[in-house]
Symmetry: C2
């Protein structure tokens, strides 16, 4: 497919909602950043939060910054795909922004933990759920230790958390092993490309070829 | 993944059963031939038939040649994944051969029409169903006419058949548009590679990382 055809195809088809989860230390953040840098079909979902902006953070870029009242009004209007409360602040995924981007043909990336991922799948059954993992648990430990920023106690807690999270892997469509980052980036890109070929995401194409074939078949009668 | 790792992985994981269907004139035969030439992870399923071998055809290579009695005994033993009768001869897919190849880590290709494909999916729910189509019905007609070997009547019948077959596309995992052959070959290879990352096909990996993480989590208690 050349670039013009890809664009035409994109206009006919909605984008894919991509949910990325995985163990803390699996390298999800870097992976997503590289995907966005390397390919232009992706858009990052922007979360809504009630926490205060940090220096340099802009509304509508890093987050949609809202107060508690506004956030709860959005919940009441069913305007969030999922939300959760951490450390006394709300964090959630605004549905409208995601839907706009999908309609525009963008593949929207949502980096989120498993509970949220399952809620997304409920509301967007055609979303693509990816679970990112290092090649082994030993490698996960090595990476967490290698960061040098956390105490052994925190690292052990993260590994215990990973052990719990590993119970949910079967809910995901694909397991992505992040060994060499650039290889992993292209793997994810190929998985998204594969997903685009599922009949549920090629409805326009199927409808078109069916109608055309029906025309030919009529000619044969 | 380097070659040694790929081999080790292959020994841990069974191969994938790949069912290829599609319109007559979509280029399935050439596609399969190229896949087998270009990559060494594929094996072609060998059909069993009661028809007479043609000149140069060898038992166990082009087909397993059996007489009617032997074929029906294989049916009775539930030894065929699917079978059908064309022009007074039986044709079927021997289960044992497919299973041997899958166990050996080979990705087994089965070129078969939709009724057979659905039977395969029933018995091998983890099989990967691919539907091959030209970019459009007009292109399908062009290719059928371009062959120059068939009367317009036969071509029209094929198009009418294609129209019927198009009703079954949703049963397939992926639609593969065969426009430029070499691009299409690599697309199929990527789809198989994607399928390998589904949790159902990475059971060994999941089990291993879970156990390893459990060990770490215990250490944290």
């Amino acid at each position: 497919m050349n670039e013009a055809e890809r664009c035409a195809e994109q206009m006919k088809n909605k984008g894919i909602l991509i949910v990325i989860s995985g163990f803390s230390g699996a390298g999800k953040g870097t992976l997503v950043k590289r995907l966005l840098q390397k390919y232009d079909n992706y858009a990052l979902s922007i979360s809504m939060t009630t926490r205060q902006p940090r220096e340099g953070e802009r509304d509508g870029v890093e987050y949609f910054f809202r107060d508690k009242e506004q956030f709860e009004a959005t919940i009441a209007q069913n305007g969030l795909i999922e939300y959760a409360c951490y450390c006394g602040n709300y964090y959630g995924t605004p549905k409208a922004y995601v839907e706009e981007q999908l309609e525009a043909g963008k593949d929207v990336i949502l980096e989120i933990e498993i509970q949220g991922a399952l809620k997304v799948k409920e509301q967007f059954p055609e979303s693509l759920l990816l679970f990112v993992t290092p090649p082994s648990a030993a490698e996960l430990e090595r990476r967490l230790v290698g960061r040098g920023t956390e105490s052994m106690e925190v690292i052990r807690k993260r590994l215990a958390r990973a052990s719990e999270e590993s119970e949910g892997i079967e809910a995901y469509d694909y397991i992505v092993v992040n060994d060499v980052l650039d290889v992993c980036v292209d793997e994810v890109h190929h998985l998204v490309d594969a997903a685009r070929r599922a009949p549920v995401r090629r409805e326009a194409f199927i409808k078109e070829i069916r109608e055309e074939l029906k025309g030919f078949a009529k000619g044969a009668e």
